[in-house]
Subunit: 440 residues, 2 copies
């Protein structure tokens, strides 16, 4: 059984030619989705603050940043872009990792690839390997790490960002080990920032930490031997119930756990998405008007009851965390994919209030955290079972359709198409072509 | 009883006119000592690496860095200077804090003060308040935090650096609270880096994190309400046995726990200094040649047995952690204050090997961790009790003499005198005058 450090070094040693098409496809979907949500978030207040600070420092123009044509050193661009891309909380989620891999890792990969003038395909490959490392470390830290108050997106993410940056810098195993051990003393991120600008900032610090650790290791920085799983390393100090050896079995390139990545097609809490998909499926087969519904009974994993079951939301933001109101929106054909939909007035919309009263949510520990089951009762007395499990992998064309629809909703059709076209042509472009899409 | 956050905000609200002379004097000693050890460490390999990376990024020339005339943005200067100043591990120690306040906080204070063109006295005052915050948070995190594997210099230090930077930026209570809460998600540092370049780097990250948090808060960054002692805040997530309310009693300006700061007058592990002082005291009263010694029995706090009781050191670095060899050096009048003394050849010096055989060290939990007691037996059959407790505050003139002797040993007399002269004249200088001493 390899140690976690050996497993990570094996991931870093995977050659581009060994990456299976299924994993590569998902990495490219993530690159597309990341560019879209970051562009859409680039005018958020937190984006303005981190950008303003970064621009005040200036420095060697190496890497692009969302929302400005000025280039910055890679470390600072990664900090800003990580923050900006998580500002809308509309990016991808890996449930076993308990985190958002793209926003922590992509900014490190793209900043280094742009600076080093690498092929565009290298961004996605480096991201994939970094994300795989991040997922595995997130699993090794375990759910207790998250429950205690740590934010895997930031903590595990820093290791993934380091691996991605180091891969592009071709560190080799000895320097890569130094980089991963060094970032162990730098990785951080607390869940108590949720609901504030600190949450997206956590993604930025992971990305920035990754660039920094790889850059210092490249210069010969001497770190401890194993900052990941060694004595008083990151796992020992940050998790009381770490995952066992099973975390590291079925390694890539044969098996990428990253492939379980889930994209958000709705601009609300990921815990509500299975319900929305189940209702949309039902509505596609049966024309049901809101007034036809007598009751909607939902069964979800109990963890979500403390996350996204706000019965009486007061703001548009709180609607994003309300099963009842989101169900009402689906029945009233209100677009859940566009972030700008979630205005405060939704919370007082009498149509939604009336429908929300008919929704009942109960916890059931036998139901997985990506699954939702339920019963839709109509006024004519019929009952229909509804169900959707996000853990089932969608066909590529369904993902593509969903991501492009979301992109068009957020950025408009021309920008969405331009970015999609570039990602489709990734093997013929450079990293600088992709970086140019941050603002063009 | 104030909450920890309230206590910190009270520290930040102390006006310069309220600072008592005793505390101010110690802060200025720390500023002198910090400049000295940082200059002496500026050619260490780790200094070259962080400097090279910082210079490659360049940026708005705001703050000076040891070892180059090029100025950098404050955040990056703080990262480099924190690392450089801890490279020799010859800086001050606060035992209750369990950490090194100056290397984490001074770089943040001086970088902001230089950029903002503030009076020199403001550096020392901001440092003092930041160090007080760091000491109190270090005590609140408690020894268990350290034993688990965290490095208070870096973790508690980040809060102190934030307070110092925010004080100079005149954040006011609301923005100061945001800064302290924000740095809670960024503070990090592991003890597993000890013995590597990662240890001094931990000081740098604390300083850099402090500048960053203060700068972002100044721009309106919204963080959680209480990242220090709130739910899933830094203390809850990083300490299983936090200190109680007693940590926050006897607050400044009436009582600065920082005043218990201890300077290193010997370039070796601080755990050995009480022994060295005890032996030097004994040798000042009695002329004892090495061959006169039959046995030296030492009693120390048991924690030191795992830190600085290397019986057979193999290198000059290991000699720094060897009671037996350091005792031998004292009896052979080998200068323990000069870092360059600790060459590998000491480990094989037959005179030291012979003396070391006569030294026996035992742990005694009744003895404080700044205390050493023992018995010196001479070949004529007499026994002398020896003892020294570092916790006793030295008269200012003794500290001054020790610091200036150390400075002269490290930098040569002219540089030592020039820096001392500037610190003595602090009230008539600007921060930029002090920053110029980093390299001149």
């Amino acid at each position: 059984m390899p140690t976690p450090m050996q497993a990570l070094l094996s991931i870093a040693a995977i050659r581009a030619s060994e990456i299976p098409a299924t994993a590569r496809t998902m990495a490219r979907f993530s690159l597309f989705d990341w560019l879209v949500v970051a562009r859409a978030g680039s005018n958020e207040p937190v984006a303005g603050i981190v950008r303003d600070y970064a621009l005040s420092e200036a420095g060697t123009p190496s890497a692009s940043m969302f929302g400005t044509s000025t280039k910055l050193p890679a470390r600072n661009a990664a900090l800003a872009n990580g923050t900006i891309s998580h500002a809308l909380d509309y990016d991808d989620t890996h449930f076993a990792h308990v985190g958002h891999p793209s926003v922590a890792i992509m900014p490190a990969a793209i900043a280094i690839a742009e600076r080093e003038d690498l092929p565009a395909a290298a961004i996605a490959d480096a991201f994939l390997l970094g994300a795989e490392a991040s997922c595995r470390i997130g699993m090794a830290l375990g759910r207790q790490h998250y429950e205690k108050g740590f934010h895997q997106t930031a903590t595990a993410g820093a290791f993934g960002a380091t691996l991605a940056a180091g891969y592009l810098l071709e560190l080799g195993p000895e320097r890569m080990q130094a980089a991963l051990s060094l970032v162990s003393t730098r990785a951080s991120g607390l869940k108590s920032q949720f609901g504030t600008m600190g949450k997206p900032f956590n993604a930025g610090i992971a990305a920035s930490n990754g660039v920094e650790a790889a850059e210092l290791a490249r210069r010969g920085f001497v770190s401890c031997d194993d900052g990941v799983a060694g004595i008083q390393g990151f796992i020992e100090t940050h998790s009381d119930q770490p995952g066992g050896p099973e975390v590291w079995t079925n390694p890539p390139p044969d098996h990428f756990v990253f492939e379980d990545i889930k994209y958000k097609f709705h601009a609300c809490c990921h815990g509500t998405h299975a319900m929305i998909e189940a209702l949309l499926t039902s509505l596609r087969s049966h024309a049901i008007r809101p007034d036809d519904v007598a009751a909607l009974e939902l069964r979800v994993n109990p963890r979500w009851l403390r996350v996204c079951d706000i019965k009486s939301p007061r703001t548009g933001l709180e609607v994003k965390f309300s099963y009842a109101f989101l169900a009402a929106m689906v029945f009233h054909a209100i677009d859940t994919s566009n972030d700008t939909t979630y205005q405060d007035k939704l919370a007082t919309d009498p149509r939604l209030l009336a429908f929300a009263k008919k929704v009942r949510v109960t916890g059931d520990a036998a139901i997985g955290d990506m699954d939702t089951q339920g019963t839709l009762s109509t006024v004519d007395g019929t009952q229909k079972a509804i169900q959707h499990d996000l853990s089932r992998r969608l066909p590529d064309h369904v993902i593509e359709t969903g991501l492009r629809k979301k992109a068009a909703a957020l950025l408009g059709q021309p920008s969405a198409d331009r970015i999609w076209s570039a990602i489709s042509d990734l093997d013929h472009l450079t990293a600088r072509n992709i970086a140019a899409l941050m603002n063009g």
